[in-house]
Symmetry: C2
Subunit: 173 residues, 2 copies
Amino acid sequence: MDDDAQPRWLSEEEQLAWVGVTAMMWLLPGSLDAQLHRDSGLNLFDYFVLSSLSQAEGRQRRMSDLAAQSNASPSRLSNAVGRLEAQGWLTRHPHEQDRRSTVATLTDAGYDKVVASAPGHAAEVRRLLIDGRSEAELAALRDVGASVARAVLGERCAETVMPPAARGDAPDC
Amino acid sequence: MDDDAQPRWLSEEEQLAWVGVTAMMWLLPGSLDAQLHRDSGLNLFDYFVLSSLSQAEGRQRRMSDLAAQSNASPSRLSNAVGRLEAQGWLTRHPHEQDRRSTVATLTDAGYDKVVASAPGHAAEVRRLLIDGRSEAELAALRDVGASVARAVLGERCAETVMPPAARGDAPDC
DNA sequence: CCGATTCGTTTCAACCTTGAAGTTTTCATG
DNA sequence: CATGAAAACTTCAAGGTTGAAACGAATCGG
């Protein structure tokens, strides 16, 4: 509640941009969730975890790295990984050097699951968001996303969520 | 699973744009929720309902209109309105002409709540998303949002979620 | 008019997320 | 070393969301 004295309302253009972002924010997760659930029995977050592991070296990653990358709370990640482990798509074991950490490793079945799920997911992303966009629009989405990541993550640096190529002029942190 | 034979993967630029959108999608709701919860004891969806009512004629609106505007499931809206009614911020009564419908009406206390919450919310939207954006970026967000709304809502028309000014070249529906 | 169907909403059970508290391991310091 | 603090997860309870089923009100066809 400790705002500045006079709130700076949004201009016409700013409001329209905000409405556009709300449309993406409200609509995309639901649709992508629905597609994955329908075609693969996964939700978007679980898919993200599997996909992230499939691209990691050795197909394994520490819980804390996964959490940072997805900006998820520890318990959310713990639950998701628990679900995926129960399905046999990954295993958990303590980290060799630092036994506080848990390392999640994708199983062969988990890798197959990602491979089977990815095309449908990519097609949906394309259909709902990418197809029909101009070069300039794609660049704007990249830059705005990087800016949002910086603003939200602040000192924790956008590195965790954005790949280097999209970070733009982020202060080195 | 009934994809086309060969999946069309995303190009480099498309992937970066997608990563940018995921950053908005994952990060913004959480931060906006947190600000509202901290400063006003509201979540983003409840705030949206109150705000929508405060701008409606007579400060009242039918449940089905609210649901369409926010793309929420009926039960989600019912729960939200139930919470807000329990707080005394709105009342429910059957629609005069069509008694199947329920009309939600903002109370004076509810209106005061919106007025008290709006500046902090607007400031956060500004801080995380709007400030520092160019005219071109704002326009891109508006257009992409409109396009997503069309793609997701399909035949149901984007009208429900996007205001006319942002709908762009939507087919009349 | 009367039965069948559709419409708008609510309710319910299953599931997911959140934030707080608890556990185990590691690190820093006296 | 020993002890306190920090880090990395897990667990738990409270609350929110989803999709299906249920319910009353309105509409449509005969």
